[in-house]
């Protein structure tokens, strides 16, 4: 069967993301398997949870990235929440008592970054409204809970987080106007 070649020659390209996933899943899987076993065997602090969480973060953010809606706003907000999770985990494992102070600071920083990305290119970024709003609501609820539940020296952080979230939410509604409702309709459609 003689085949007339009618497609371009494709040169061997640099390692594609999927090849990297294919190769790296084995050492990652090995680490996921070995670390808890070693941790349980040696006892002590459950450091393997941190290792597993770190592997998850690396995998999620560097290798197996989102296949739909991978943009700076969604990634920065997800990374912020992931870092909050990491801080919480460290706090639980090592009893540092810093999480309730550090987490709202992280959220506030993440909120500032996301809102700068959102508001400086509003026309384009309003299509990425849901990740932004989702993060805003989480920060708003966290701030509100913190204000009522955490009446220590650092309550100001929660007040800052709450008021910033409310301010940004109202700004989004005012600036986007009708687009805000339309975007909601699209995001929550069940058709």
């Amino acid at each position: 069967m003689l085949v007339k070649i009618t497609y371009p020659e494709v040169t061997k390209c640099a390692l594609h993301q999927r090849k990297l996933i294919h190769i790296l899943r084995w050492p990652a899987g090995l680490a996921v398997y070995i670390c808890p076993i070693v941790n349980i065997a040696t006892g002590g602090v459950a450091w393997s949870l941190l290792v597993l969480f770190g592997i998850y973060l690396l995998w999620r953010f560097l290798l197996a990235t989102d296949l739909v809606e991978y943009n700076r706003i969604s990634q920065s907000s997800k990374l912020t929440l992931a870092l909050c999770g990491a801080v919480g985990l460290v706090d639980i494992l090592f009893s540092l008592n810093i999480a309730l102070f550090v987490m709202p600071m992280l959220c506030f920083t993440g909120l500032c970054i996301a809102s700068i990305l959102f508001f400086t290119d509003l026309q384009k970024q309003k299509q990425n409204m849901l990740p932004m709003l989702f993060f805003l609501f989480i920060c708003l609820i966290a701030g509100l809970l913190g204000v009522f539940l955490y009446k220590a020296n650092f309550a100001w952080i929660y007040i800052l987080l709450f008021t910033t979230s409310v301010g940004l939410l109202l700004s989004s509604i005012v600036l986007l106007g009708e687009d805000f409702l339309l975007e909601f309709k699209r995001r929550f459609h069940t058709r």
Binding site: M1, V3, K4, T6, Y7, V10, L67, Q127, R186, H189
Partner: protein, 517 residues
């Protein structure tokens, strides 16, 4: 200590000061300067009109403007008078599409909902349609043709978004790109970036190809777009094309019926059928890391193919299916199990619809390996199964199942149903079939266009388990069977080639070399 002074005017004669030298003119500026005042004014008016017609962001507007500049330069190089160039590039063909922000959005049709859910790295439901012309493609004009065509296909001028319950297509006004083909066919599209396209337009020598993510459309819809794109491209080359029922006019206003989810219009019945089927036998050969690892096209005379099928008192689809079954038998070492070939069924023939969104179901022709059938018996068995399973009643039952499943899951958030659906799809997926044959049938082209199109082909995208997928269509008395291979083992296509040649068909084989990762 005295500082060394800069060279004075006498030195500038020998080595002139670079600040005072004129920068070389860009080609388009040079072209403008070569024109008379009247022509220059006409072009300036053209681009003033362009500023009103194109209200995209700065970068996209600049790039689109450059596209038109390149088109003018091309026409000038070809000796086309400016009046003719202005007529062909008339901005009325943009139709204000790029001048206004769109609020359009499209919920995915019921067949498309699974595609973003089952997306994986390197795994995407894609297909490709291509047209082969008699001369090499002029990329500058193809780019302009794409700019002009997009307004007629608003559901393609979208980007995939994730809602809380379902994905959807959100309108995305941007400069849609034409690229030179450099990569393996049917590679996954990056649909995750802001305003990313869910299709790609490629050119290579005399071939224009469009690859679609299945969320946008099915084979018929994709072919509709390709025909319009090629027609517009030919018009820019100076060919007068007659539009009609077989070819959309880009200047017609898009209608709702052309972009509806036709699944919702089908009358709901009580009966529905299940999707779960037995696992099918898979062909031999290690699944290649690079998918597809080869694409082949069997070009043959449509009249001869039809004559051969008629000599067996059967249709082309049944004949081809039978040959595929035999080729699969030769490509597997298994002695037991079922060979199953998936055959898409166009629902428009049962429920007329103008939609170019997905509107197809499928049936599976299943024959046990243990059943030793001679060719006439094979044809009879396939014909019987095809008639039963692709009939209106059974297809409607399957459609009802699809709609029912979608309705059941619609209030479950994506974050819950996506991993479950993905896991189920991963386990079952395409393992219930050995291969697929999708026949787009006779592609109708207006006579004024048909004489410029040598042939067309239809390539199915990759599969997780199936080693070969087949697409068939006929245009201008040329039938093309396209095989996309997921294994380097050549047993299937070599056997199929031999079988078809044994029946007197003269086959010209074109395609790619093997892509070894």
């Amino acid at each position: 200590m005295k500082t060394k002074e800069k060279p004075k005017s006498t030195d500038s004669l020998i080595s002139p000061n670079m600040d005072t030298m004129e920068k070389p003119l860009e080609p388009f500026q040079q072209y403008l300067q070569s024109l008379c005042a009247e022509d220059r004014e006409r072009i300036e008016l053209f681009f003033q009109d362009f500023t009103c017609q194109c209200q995209l962001n700065k970068q996209n507007t600049k790039l689109m403007r450059e596209d038109f500049e390149r088109a003018f330069l091309l026409y000038h190089a070809q000796g086309i008078p400016l009046a003719q160039a202005l007529k062909r590039l008339n901005l009325k063909y943009l139709g204000g599409f790029y001048a206004r922000h769109s609020q359009l959005w499209f919920p995915l049709d019921d067949a498309a909902k699974i595609y973003p859910i089952s997306l994986g790295h390197g795994s995407m439901s894609l297909f490709r349609v291509s047209a082969y012309l008699y001369q090499d493609v002029v990329p500058e004009l193809l780019q302009i043709a794409l700019h002009f065509c997009m307004k007629r296909f608003p559901s393609f001028a979208t980007t995939l978004k994730k809602g809380v319950f379902w994905h959807y297509l959100d309108s995305s006004k941007r400069r849609f790109l034409v690229e030179e083909e450099r990569d393996i066919p049917c590679q996954p599209l990056a649909v995750n970036l802001s305003a990313s396209q869910s299709f790609r337009v490629l050119h290579y020598h005399n071939r224009i190809s469009v690859e679609f993510f299945h969320v946008l459309t099915d084979g018929l819809g994709g072919m509709c777009f390709l025909k319009v794109l090629v027609a517009e491209y030919l018009r820019l080359l100076g060919v007068e094309i007659q539009h009609g029922a077989s070819l959309w006019d880009i200047n017609d206003t898009p209608q709702y019926s052309e972009f509806e989810n036709a699944f919702s219009r089908v009358p709901k019945g009580e009966k529905s059928s299940g999707f779960i089927q037995r696992m099918a036998v898979q062909m031999n050969g290690r699944l290649s890391e690079t998918k597809p690892c080869r694409v082949l096209h069997f070009n043959m005379s449509a009249d001869k193919l039809k004559a051969v099928a008629e000599s067996y008192h059967t249709s082309v689809t049944v004949y081809m299916l039978a040959q595929i079954f035999y080729a699969i038998r030769a490509a597997t070492d298994e002695l037991q199990g079922e060979i199953a070939v998936q055959v898409p069924v166009n629902m428009r023939k049962f429920y007329p619809s103008k939609t170019i969104r997905n509107f197809a179901m499928y049936c599976g022709i299943r024959i046990p390996l243990e059943k030793e059938l001679d060719f006439p018996a094979m044809l009879a068995e396939i014909s019987k199964q095809l008639k039963e399973k692709s009939g209106k009643e059974i297809q409607t039952e399957m459609l009802n199942s699809t709609v029912r499943l979608v309705n059941t899951m619609k209030y479950i958030p994506l974050v819950i149903k996506q991993p479950i659906a993905k896991a189920v799809y991963g386990i079952l997926g395409d393992k219930v079939f050995t291969s697929a044959l999708s026949n787009l049938g006779q592609v109708a082209l207006p006579p004024t266009m048909a004489k410029h199109v040598r042939s067309m082909d239809f390539v199915l995208g990759t599969s997780r388990s199936n080693r070969a997928l087949c697409g068939l269509l006929t245009v201008n008395k040329v039938s093309t069977l396209s095989i996309s291979k997921m294994t380097l083992d050549p047993s299937f296509e070599e056997k199929l080639y031999d079988l078809l040649c044994q029946d007197g068909l003269e086959i010209e084989v074109e395609g790619s070399s093997s892509y070894v990762g």
